[in-house]
Every structure is written in structure tokens, then in C-alpha cells.
């Protein structure tokens, strides 16, 4: 153990890094909690199973093999290499060197796995970069909502991952060469670094500096990256887990019931039904009535807002959306991205970037009139045209690897348009009045409802007489 100024410095850097992240996480928690309350308690074992399968097990990723395989490399690399991060932390604080070496053969295997995964991560990241930046990119990385900041963000993540891996290899290779020059035995097995030793200088001082540079670059890089996450789509590496845990367990076709309307309708049908008193503020005064449906982010359920922070903008939802693939304005990914941007515009922004400032111009290029005066999620970001294009087919819900449900948000906003603004397309208003007056969405008389049976018996008679 060589306790030195380096250890004090490291401790300060680590505290600053984690403290800053905790501060940012609190802001995001506050953002999510502006959403409407929704009881998601219970069903713990079912929820844990789902989390294991979908989040840890990546089961929904494997609908597309190539990206699933590449993602798996980066994901497993992230999990395994984090074990080494624990070692780095301990070494950094206590001045030890390769603290985990007491594991013996397990340490050998761990280091070897790390190195191989590290190299594979670089390969996967290059493939990801190519898929996004070739001309034209993979279709789901196109689209107006994915220009400007979202595009830059995606590339920054890939560059940082390469830098982190490069730092790891610099550290290992320099350390290995240092040991070789001294004729000492180095704990661990380093299949990739042992190939790289030839490229490194032979000066002990230089190697020592390189080892320290690699070490510091890796851990400082990780801490910086950690604090970049809240500004980035890469936040999904954390949020995917709670998001899957809190995803819906009911059949996808089941749309939420609006309790307040149930009370109203029951009271209409049965005058003796007592509508529960509206909720009051803690001081007893009446609260402003909650609107039907959602106009802004705080009208959505907190789970919908959690969705927005779990989205990695992969576009699998949009690429299977029947409205989107036939050229309509709707993009489920954009609805989710808009929700996050609006939350950060209205409430708390993360530390580094305010994504809405960068992406908005590009996103709205194809939309006509945006109500800048009443800047809310609906109309300010999402236009009614997008919402009315949805066929509620659940393809986006099915496609999302982390169980995001864009459909729920779409229906909530439709509810606001219809129930608060009476702003449904005219043809839908005709359908509504048909249901109201005739008990059918078409303009047929209810007395004709049994007419289908007339022909049946005629045909029967013919069959008998023939």
C-alpha cells in the first residue's frame, strides 16, 4: 500500500463524481414525480421475473439479430468490466495495486474476459457507428427527430466507449510491460495487452506514466460518463431496469379506465349513486380540477414519464409503426422524446445539455403550426395530426426492448383533445354521435340490427325446397 497525494485526489474526484450524479438523479426523480399518481405496487415476483427476462436477459432485443448481438457484447462488457471498476476504486482509495489479485485463477480469468470483451466492445462500437453514420444510415436512425443533438449524443456515447476501452488497454499494457522489464510476474492474464506490449516504449518512467494515465483516464472517464448519462439517451443503462419493473402486466389491448368518468356515468345512470368528494389540498381548500386526458407532461402518469427517461431512441417502435412506415407524421419515438424534452424544459434540466434546445428546430421542421404561446406537450411539441394517425395497433409497445408504452401517452392526449377541447376530426364526431344516437358507429337504425337473420332463414327455406 502506497498511500499518497494521488489517493486523496482520487477520493475527492470520486466524491465529486458520485455526488454530482446523485444531485442530477434527484432532479430526474423530481421530474418523474410530477406525473399523475398510479399504483404500481404488488405483483413483485411477476415484476421481478419480467425484469430478469426483459432487462437483464435482453429478451426483446433478439427480435433483430445483428444489433442484438452487438448490443449484447457492449452490455456484457459493461457488466463484467464494472468488476474491474470496483478494483480501480479500491486501489484508488487505499493505494493498493490490483487489489483483486488475491482471487488467483479467478483473477486470471476475469482479466482475460475483460480484455477480450474490451476488444469486442470496440468492434461492436465501430459497427454501431457505421450503422448510424453511413449514407444513408440504417432506416430507424433517420427521421427528423434524430438530427442535431440526438445524433451527436449517439456518436458521443460511441466515442466515449472507445476512449474508455483504450484507457483500459493502455493501463494494462503499460503495467504488463513494466512487469516484463523487471522480470516480475504480473497477476492476471492479458490476451490483448500482451499483443500490444511491442508498441509501447521501453523506458520505465514512460511506462509508469502511461499506466497512471490509463488508470486515471479510465476512472475519470467513467465518472464523467456517469454524469453525462442524465443528459443523454444512454441513461437507459440505468432506467431500463425500473422501467421494465414498472411496466404494465395487463393485456396490451386493455386501455386504462378513467375513474372520475366512471363516477359521473354511474351517477347519471343511478341518481342515488354518491360521487366521492374531490380531493382537497392539505389546508382543506379545493384543488384545481384535473383535466381529462393529458395536455402537458404533468397530466401523464409517472410511469409514462419514467418511460421517457428509459428511451434510448433506438427507433424500433417507429420502424414498425404502420402510420410511420406509410409516411404519416406519427413517430412513437418522437412522442417519447418530446415528453422528456418538455419535462426538462418545464421543470429540471440535467447538468450538461438541455436537449430540447438542440433538437427542437429539426424536429418540428415538417410540422405546420406550433402553438408557441401555450407551450405544452400537446401542440407545443406533439401535433394533433400525429396523434390522429395512430391505429392503436400496439406494434410500438411490442417492439420496445425496455417495455416503453408510447400508445398510452397517445391515447391520453387524444382524450384531452376530445374531452377538453372537442377537437376530434369531424368524421370522428359523426361516429361519436352515431354511437350516441344509434348505438352503432355507422348511421344505421338500431331496429335494423337483427336484419342479418332475415336472409338466413330465407336461405334455409330455399335449401329445404330445393
Amino acid at each position: 500500500m502506497h498511500f499518497s497525494i494521488q489517493n486523496i485526489l482520487f477520493l475527492l474526484v470520486a466524491i465529486a463524481g458520485f455526488g454530482l450524479f446523485a444531485w442530477q438523479a434527484r432532479k430526474i426523480r423530481a421530474n418523474i414525480l410530477v406525473g399523475r399518481d398510479r399504483d404500481m405496487s404488488g405483483n413483485v415476483s411477476e415484476r421481478l421475473n419480467k425484469t430478469l427476462l426483459v432487462a437483464f436477459g435482453q429478451s426483446k432485443m433478439f427480435k433483430r439479430l445483428t444489433p442484438a448481438f452487438l448490443h449484447l457484447i457492449v452490455y456484457v462488457g459493461f457488466l463484467v468490466i464494472n468488476v474491474e471498476v470496483i478494483e480501480i476504486m479500491v486501489d484508488g482509495i487505499f493505494g493498493t495495486h490490483r487489489f483483486l489479485q488475491f482471487l488467483g485463477p479467478v483473477y486470471d480469468a476475469l482479466m482475460a474476459t475483460n480484455e477480450i470483451l474490451g476488444a469486442l466492445v470496440i468492434v461492436a462500437v465501430v459497427a454501431f457507428w457505421w450503422r448510424r453514420n453511413r449514407k444513408p444510415p440504417v432506416r430507424r436512425f433517420q427521421g427528423p427527430e434524430l438530427r442535431m443533438w440526438p445524433k451527436l449524443d449517439a456518436n458521443i456515447i460511441l466515442y466515449v466507449e472507445v476512449i474508455l476501452m483504450a484507457a483500459l488497454f493502455t493501463m494494462n499494457t503499460a503495467d504488463l510491460k513494466l512487469h516484463q522489464l523487471r522480470g516480475a510476474d504480473m497477476p492476471g492474464t492479458f490476451p490483448i495487452s500482451s499483443l500490444l506490449v511491442g508498441l509501447f516504449p521501453t523506458s520505465e518512467t514512460a511506462l509508469h506514466v502511461l499506466e497512471r494515465v490509463g488508470w486515471w483516464a479510465h476512472i475519470v472517464g467513467i465518472l464523467c460518463f456517469l454524469n453525462y448519462l442524465p443528459s443523454s439517451k444512454h441513461f437507459h443503462i440505468i432506467m431500463a431496469f425500473p422501467n421494465v419493473y414498472y411496466s404494465r402486466l395487463v393485456p396490451q389491448g386493455q386501455f386504462s379506465n378513467v375513474e372520475s368518468i366512471t363516477h359521473e356515468v354511474k351517477a347519471m345512470m343511478d341518481p342515488s349513486y354518491e360521487v366521492p368528494a374531490p380531493a382537497t389540498a392539505p389546508d382543506g381548500s379545493a384543488l384545481a380540477p384535473t383535466p381529462f386526458g393529458a395536455k402537458d407532461v404533468n397530466d401523464l402518469a409517472w410511469t409514462n414519464l419514467l418511460n421517457a427517461y428509459s428511451c434510448t431512441e433506438c427507433g424500433r417502435c417507429t420502424s414498425v409503426c404502420p402510420a410511420n412506415i406509410t409516411g404519416k407524421l406519427l413517430s412513437p419515438r418522437k412522442i417519447i422524446m418530446d415528453t422528456r424534452d418538455r419535462m426538462e424544459e418545464k421543470y429540471n434540466s440535467p447538468l450538461i445539455f438541455s436537449p430540447n434546445l438542440y433538437g427542437q428546430e429539426a424536429k418540428h421542421e415538417s410540422q405546420e403550426v406550433l402553438d408557441k404561446e401555450n407551450h405544452t406537450l400537446l401542440r407545443g411539441y406533439v401535433t394533433p395530426e400525429e396523434l390522429w394517425a395512430c391505429t392503436t395497433c400496439n406494434a410500438c409497445v411490442e417492439a420496445c426492448p425496455v417495455n416503453i408504452n408510447p400508445l398510452e401517452s397517445i391515447v391520453e392526449m387524444r382524450r384531452f383533445l376530445v374531452l377538453e377541447e372537442s377537437a376530434a376530426p369531424n368524421s370522428l364526431n359523426v361516429m361519436f354521435s352515431n354511437i350516441e344516437n344509434n348505438g352503432a358507429p355507422w348511421a344505421f337504425s338500431p331496429s335494423d340490427r337483427f336484419n342479418w337473420a332475415d336472409d338466413l332463414f330465407v336461405a334455409d327455406k330455399e335449401a329445404v325446397t330445393a
Partner: protein, 286 residues
């Protein structure tokens, strides 16, 4: 139903006809086909007739929760009044709404889609698929209804029914959980589509036709259908009889039929509901 109740009887099942089944000229044929099957196997069934009303599905999907709940409560009052326990319907939208959304409003029933019901009849040997039209060697592709498939995970029942027909069943590239919507769900049935490059039902019909024709090149031109295993679709067989797009939903029926007409393929491609196929295979022409 009212007549039956007056006689003090309760039916085995309540057949929920649905608005399309009652009013849409094309889907009335499906209603009749299903009734013939029910009569044929001797299931004691009833319909609500004029007492039935829209389930409220299109209102709810369009955001009119108030209208939906009015419809739902009214229907629940009717159904509960007759003591209905088991509901069968040929409409996936009615099926989904009654099964999943009525319980929260006091309507708890065992709800079965007719594809599941037909599968049970075939499994139990009550429908034998013989004596009528033969589908041997005819190409059939099944178009999954979103509200049956993704919404309620019913993928196998309609396929089991089609397999019993001994036809040449082919799958579209986008099928089951990855199926493409016909374009009519979510109240789209009652409005013009938003501006875009193409209507959804045309895209889906093109896919169905390309699959039936074994035309891999046409498949590759569809949006979002990934090419690569183009050779996987078998070449079409020389077949004098027309190919079939099978559906299990009134909206899909309308959208796919319109698509086939749009592509001017009515002469050799027909759109049929599962109940119609079973009825005609059983010699119960509707």
C-alpha cells in the same frame, strides 16, 4: 335473447354480433356463417338482437372515454340482466373491450373470440371440415388482427382453424406479434387517413399478395420489410382456384377487401373470414 329469457331459459353462449356483424353487408355473411356453424353443432346460443349496442371500442380508442363508459354500462346492464356468463364474438374489437375493459365497470364474463371457439369445435370433433368445399392445395395467408394478436396473444387459434382446412398455408413476413395493422384500428375505420405516402391497408395488401404469389421481389419493396431471405418464400403453384387472405376481424375484412380491389386482384384473390371458410368446408354455405 329476450324471447329465450321469457321462456325462462339461459343459453350456453351469448353470440355478440357486433355492429359490423349486424350492419356491414359483407360481415353479415360472416355472422350468418357462424350462426350456421352454431346451429350445425347444436350449441344453445342466443343473440341480443336489438338490445345489443356498440361496445364503445371506437369511442374509447378515439379518446371519448365518456361515451365509451356510457355504452359499456348500458351493455353491462343488459348482459347482467340476462345473467350472461359466456360471450362469443367474431369481432376482435368487441372481444378485447368486453374481455379486458368491461370488468372494471362491473361486467365479468368469459369472453371467447370465434377463432378460439372454432378451434375448440374442431378439436372436439364437433366440426369435421368435410362434406363441403375443399381447400386442398389452395394458398391461404392469415392476416393477424392487432386486437386479437398483439392485444390478447391469440395467434395459434386462427392458424389451427386454417390448418384443419388442409390448405397450403403461407405466412407473411410480418405476422403474429410482428403483424402489420390493416389500418382501421383506433377508430381509423371512421376517418380519412392522415396524409402520407400510402394507405396502411394498401401496404398490407401488397404484402399479402406478394406472399400469396411467392413474389419475393415485391416483398423487398415494402417499407420496413427487411430483405435478405428473399428465397424463403416458395414459388407459387399453378392453381386454377383463387388464393385467399383469411381474416378474423370485420375491420381487417373491409381494409383487405378494399386493398385487393385497389390492386385489381378480385378475380383471383378473395378475402374470407375464418367462420366462412369453416362453414363452406363443412358444406354449410351461407
Amino acid at each position: 335473447m329476450a324471447d329465450l329469457a321469457a321462456q325462462g331459459e339461459t343459453p350456453e353462449i351469448l353470440f355478440w354480433v357486433g355492429c359490423a356483424g349486424a350492419f356491414d353487408d359483407r360481415y353479415k355473411r360472416v355472422t350468418r356463417a357462424f350462426v350456421r356453424i352454431l346451429e350445425h353443432v347444436g350449441v344453445k346460443y342466443a343473440v341480443l338482437g336489438m338490445e345489443e349496442s356498440c361496445t364503445g371500442d371506437p369511442a374509447k380508442r378515439a379518446g371519448n372515454e365518456f361515451l365509451f363508459q356510457m355504452q359499456a354500462m348500458q351493455n353491462i346492464t343488459t348482459l347482467n340482466g340476462y345473467g350472461i356468463k359466456k360471450v362469443v364474438t367474431a369481432c376482435p374489437h368487441c372481444f378485447n373491450t368486453i374481455k379486458n375493459e368491461y370488468p372494471a365497470l362491473g361486467g365479468e364474463y368469459e369472453v371467447i373470440h370465434h377463432s378460439t371457439f372454432l378451434q375448440q369445435l374442431i378439436n372436439d370433433g364437433r366440426v369435421k371440415i368435410e362434406g363441403g368445399e375443399s381447400y386442398k392445395g389452395r394458398r391461404i395467408t392469415f392476416h393477424d388482427s392487432c386486437y386479437l394478436g398483439r392485444s390478447n396473444n391469440i395467434y395459434e387459434a386462427p392458424r389451427a382453424v386454417l390448418e384443419a382446412l388442409d390448405a397450403d398455408l403461407v405466412e407473411m413476413k410480418r405476422s403474429k406479434a410482428n403483424g402489420l395493422c390493416c389500418g382501421a384500428g383506433g377508430a381509423q375505420m371512421w376517418k380519412e387517413p392522415e396524409p402520407g405516402k400510402k394507405d396502411v391497408n394498401i401496404e398490407r395488401t401488397e404484402e399479402a399478395l406478394a406472399t400469396l404469389d411467392g413474389n419475393a421481389a415485391a416483398l423487398d419493396n415494402l417499407y420496413g420489410v427487411e430483405s435478405g431471405n428473399a428465397g424463403a418464400t416458395p414459388a407459387p403453384k399453378a392453381n386454377a382456384q383463387s388464393s385467399i387472405i383469411a381474416v378474423g376481424c370485420p375491420f381487417c375484412m373491409t381494409m383487405m377487401s378494399d386493398g385487393v380491389k385497389n390492386k385489381e386482384r378480385e378475380n383471383n384473390v378473395q378475402v374470407f373470414d375464418l367462420a366462412e371458410l369453416v362453414a363452406s368446408a363443412e358444406g354449410l354455405n351461407a
